[in-house]
Symmetry: C2
């Protein structure tokens, strides 16, 4: 897809040239931010009336907070994308004959929006109807079907470049066929749920999503400036910028102390958006690199998620109304009642000092923190205020993003040929 | 899009040949029906728990009925379409080189699904959040944007063939340009809301939608058998059959006495589906022909919809618990308080005997039936049982469908050249 006319200007003696679609995209993204900022406060009573609210357990006053505002952000994001659809194709309308229209690029946009729209619908249905835990696994799979289909028709490249280390054994590259589609489907499931399980304190879901989105934008800009695969990275920017615009407005109301909660809708929407740009932009491995904290949290959570260790319904930190500080939340179990895997996880985690345990006088009943990096952070800092805890986790996510860029650029050369 | 291999067999000495995609579509549609039949009863408690229920005012016991089940039907319908996406393109995968893939056809499917998915999302948000009346007008406009965009890129034909009568004045055809897009956008708004305002008794929304869908299918089959525009009519069948499958399951639980209510979600979803096939199949005028009862109801409702005559919040018939019969519901106003348009409508409707009025002793205060064809039907029959009233309206819709085919086929030749 060739770039439409550029907008050129000189700044500090430097000639700068910006493509018009990008400028329009930035304008639409700013519009998304403004729309969100004005709509969200107006819609709060509607959500309360519809019984869509939660109690903020980490506040003294235990306020009623309207829930599932991700659906507002999602709709604003979608409408922004709808309005932007024609823009990258304007040149094609004016100068080419009908047959030359790049339908293959066009269908990527539409399919990306279909997957995102479907995920917002399913996420909102989940927030309203409280679907079962196992539904959370197959809903993103359903929503990613159109995406995989477009991948199949447009690229169907299922070949992965192998790291240098294994090339003597397996060759330069390997066609993993249907496994590649399985990987992409699972990427959508992982991205949506990984954000969903690293949550529970004001603003955390939105902050982590914004940092991941920002990292993807930085990555796209670096790639475009170094002249690699322009199309895919432009496509990604066109989707990520309105996402960031709409989400910044949400952050404004979701940050500590939250006036609105985002709901599963937002986590699903965000995860699917990242999966979409990763898959259609051919940089799904790089997207995963920006998920390091989520991956760590997932790995740390595995014993509880798969019920090797008993998992309470909520694992978020416990609020002490006297001090307004958050403490770790705990789970209790009898070691002799765990299965073999549970005992193994317990022993490994305890010896690696990943959990803090108190063993009862009988030597069998163990009380330890729930297995989330939020609780782990409180283990390191001691009881802490909610906003400070969020700030620490945000710093951790930023540090991981830096680390991801280090892996992606300098270190990748050890394993792969130059970009 | 060429047809994939046909499945041929002989029945009663007749050679019959059915395209494989159509057979698979029928199978998926049957699956949609079965999925709906088993899912809907299971999900009833979820909706009640989520406070999504209404009271059935037309029953003695005033039962709590779960509401907005259109979202379940919508999701089943969408998943059926997702699963069907690859089928019409199977041949293209196996025999052609990459560049030949019919992306223009493919993008029609994806955009159709995007518009439908977006409409389900907005409809469900409306059911949950009770959006304002004016939102109901612009939500379908938003959802139809991707559709119009695809129409623009794939056809951009805004020329209408004129009836023979006006040809001496205006010529054979007329390019109405942007008005055509306005017409298509308004078609989506009309289809969604026209079904929404002809509602209020058990099963009516679903029955009318099924009859319209059936009429479209019959029309498509007639056109395919007479060899016209195969592609567009195939496309329409591929969308309408899963719609009918999913909706039949909903009808099973929504018919008198309703176990579930369909909600605005269903009406939006249905209206958008009909608008989608009409627009992308180039037979939007024919689709409108199948909406005769809705058009009549809309025209009859205009004085109340635009508030020339006072309009109560609900205009559905009134239930008499003693006899279990439905009576007309009424509105009351003072003639001297109406504006000029209101007085005009009142006089015209009264003289055409479209409304039954009772004038108070002061000669100014009027009590008359609400302006819906449901109430008009009760005016003709007298108080009536809910299921019989529904049956009469269904018969009326069927009669109108017959009439539509009469206009479409024999009569059209008076106004246009042969097909």
């Amino acid at each position: 897809m060739p770039l439409v006319h550029c907008f050129e200007f000189t700044i500090l003696g430097q000639q700068v040239s910006l493509p018009v679609p990008l400028l329009l995209n930035v304008a639409i993204s700013a519009g998304a931010f403004l729309a969100g900022r004005s709509l969200i406060p107006k819609m709060k009573p509607m959500f309360i009336n519809a019984n869509l609210y939660g109690i903020d357990m980490n506040k003294k006053s235990k306020p009623k907070i309207p829930e599932a505002f991700g659906v507002v952000t999602g709709c604003i994001f979608l409408v922004s994308l709808f309005l932007f659809i024609p823009v990258p194709f304007l040149r094609n309308f004016s100068t080419t004959v009908k047959g030359d229209f790049p339908h293959d690029k066009f269908v990527e946009f539409i399919a990306a929006m279909l997957s995102i729209c479907c995920m917002i619908l399913l996420g909102f249905a989940d927030d309203v109807l409280n679907l079962r835990w196992r539904d959370k696994l197959y809903l993103p799979t359903i929503a990613s079907l159109p995406l995989l289909m477009v991948y199949y028709t447009n690229f169907n490249s299922t070949t992965v470049i192998l790291p240098k280390l294994v090339r003597p054994l397996l060759g330069q590259s390997l066609d993993i066929g249907v496994l590649y589609y399985l990987f992409m489907g699972m990427l959508a499931v992982f991205c949506t749920n990984a954000i969903n399980i690293l949550a529970g304190i004001n603003g955390l879901e939105v902050c982590q999503s914004l940092i991941i989105a920002g990292s993807i934008v930085v990555f796209n800009v670096i790639e475009i400036l170094s002249g690699h695969h322009n199309d895919a990275h432009e496509f990604s920017l066109y989707i990520m910028l309105p996402y960031i615009g709409a989400t910044l407005a949400l952050w404004r109301y979701n940050r500590y102390p939250s006036e609105v909660f985002v709901g599963d809708t937002f986590n699903y929407l965000s995860g699917m958006t990242f999966a979409v740009v990763g898959i259609l932009g051919h940089f799904s491995k790089t997207v995963l690199l920006f998920f390091i904290p989520q991956v760590l949290n997932f790995l740390y959570s595995v014993p509880q998620l798969f019920r090797f260790i008993p998992c309470p319904r909520h694992r978020m930190p416990k609020h002490d109304p006297a001090t307004d500080l958050l403490h770790i939340s705990r789970t209790q179990f009898r070691v002799d009642e765990l299965n073999a895997l549970g005992r193994l996880c317990y022993q490994i985690f305890r010896h690696l000092r990943l959990i803090r345990c108190e063993v009862d006088q009988d030597g069998k009943t163990v009380t330890c923190n729930n297995f989330t990096i939020i609780n782990f952070c409180i283990l390191l800092t001691g009881p802490i205020r909610e906003d400070r805890l969020n700030r620490l986790l945000v710093i951790f996510q930023l540090a991981c993003a830096m680390f991801a860029f280090t892996i992606r650029y300098p270190l990748a050369h050890f394993f792969y040929d130059a970009n």
